[in-house]
Symmetry: C2
Subunit: 247 residues, 2 copies
């Protein structure tokens, strides 16, 4: 399979075999991750490896059981702590605890994660990004003993797939690509762009099962409702302040 074919065939995996990931494979994945571009080669990220039944169970609760069959979780953090320690040891200033570096470090962590994920699929592994890491960042930070300057931004469950999931749909390219400048979407544009998504059989089934009027309502009322959003966002903001990223 070519690299392009590999990328185009991506599916998230949510059920895993018991088979462990060998240390050699893990290190190769992390090496591939670390080859991704990053801010000024400061590599503003770290990865915490969780394996072993007890450890996985403790982390799994903050992800509401997602990935609990996986032999491993990888929690990838925006990290200016290691960099600050190096600056201090070198007798230098440490001016990186602010919003700019929160975003830079989050992007560094994400590029690292995605390279690692592509390598994982090339090795025959499957994975799933767990967005819940941002829901319970303070609790996960405490569990993993993250110091000030470190925030978990991505968690992956990873292992050998024990399912063959169908591929989910994506918006057509016209929905995400803008030529020269951002186009002001018309009502018709929005309808046309989302038509395939609305008609996707799995999505129609979810709408039916949840008794909502349409797919958007499934998102806004069931999956990501306002109250939950606002509570999580406030909790995250407090934690980012404590961790030294927001004034």
């Amino acid at each position: 399979m070519t690299t392009t074919e590999l990328l185009l065939s991506h599916r998230s995996v949510r059920r895993y075999k018991e088979k462990e990931i060998s240390q050699g494979v893990l290190e190769r994945l992390i090496e591939c991750g670390a080859r991704a571009s990053n801010t000024g080669n400061m590599q503003l990220y770290s990865v915490v490896v969780t394996r072993g039944e007890e450890e996985r169970k403790a982390l799994s609760q903050w992800h509401y059981g997602q990935g609990s069959t996986a032999p491993m979780y990888l929690t990838i953090c925006a990290d200016v702590n290691r960099y600050h320690l190096w600056c201090e040891q070198s007798g230098c200033d440490t001016p990186y605890g602010n919003l700019l570096w929160l975003l830079s470090a989050t992007i560094d962590a994400s590029l690292f994660a995605q390279n690692l994920c592509v390598a994982a699929e090339a090795e025959g592994l499957g994975f799933c990004y767990l967005g819940t890491v941002l829901y319970n960042a303070p609790e996960i930070g405490e569990l993993l003993k993250l110091p000030k300057g470190v925030v978990p931004v991505i968690t992956l469950s990873i292992g050998y797939a024990d399912e063959e999931p169908a591929q989910s749909e994506r918006l057509p390219l016209e929905g995400i690509v803008h030529e020269r400048e951002y186009k002001a979407y018309s009502d018709d544009d929005i309808r046309r762009i989302h038509q395939l998504r609305e008609e996707f059989p799995f999505n129609q089934e979810m709408v039916r099962q949840n008794g909502v009027r349409n797919l958007a309502e499934l998102f806004t009322e069931k999956r990501y409702p306002r109250k939950q959003n606002e509570e999580i966002s406030a909790k995250l903001e407090k934690y980012l302040k404590e961790q030294g990223f927001l004034g």
Copy 2:
């Protein structure tokens, strides 16, 4: 070349041939990008394509001339606008203008970007991430006519390489990997982790040319000094508020 070999051989490209990127290749890259995992399949990102001499020149100034020989820039944005329009059209709530969704959308945009970049290298193209997009996000947003709910978080220069750059160094794995929980680095750890980086010939030459005491000082005094950091961060915060992502 296998996918793993491709990932391990990454080099950023800063000088490009005049050769254009065909529409077919561009679309394949974007398709690969869009196959990346994303938050709840909401695809909270957009990409603005900049080609044509005038347009590239106008954008290039906000990147201090970086990537000016490339036939194309791609500005990848965290985007809740398209999603909000769809929710509104469906008669639903639009509760996604907050810190949680800024980070979720930034991660979505980053995973999209990195998949696109891996596909680009597989197609024989080169690219460079331009961190300056965060320095001048409001000006770039105005140039690209980004509406409320959209913020540029990644810019790539992309094209066919007209150089064969050396590969830059990375920290050893022990510097970025933590087993079970985040380890408290000792002074010796920090020294050992950064030793290769300090001794890397290119870095030593940069230290000499800039007349600084050590590599950390090159970063903290020349490349990313406190005053500049704080000004950019304040400007970014103001813009994120205007764009509806921060309260």
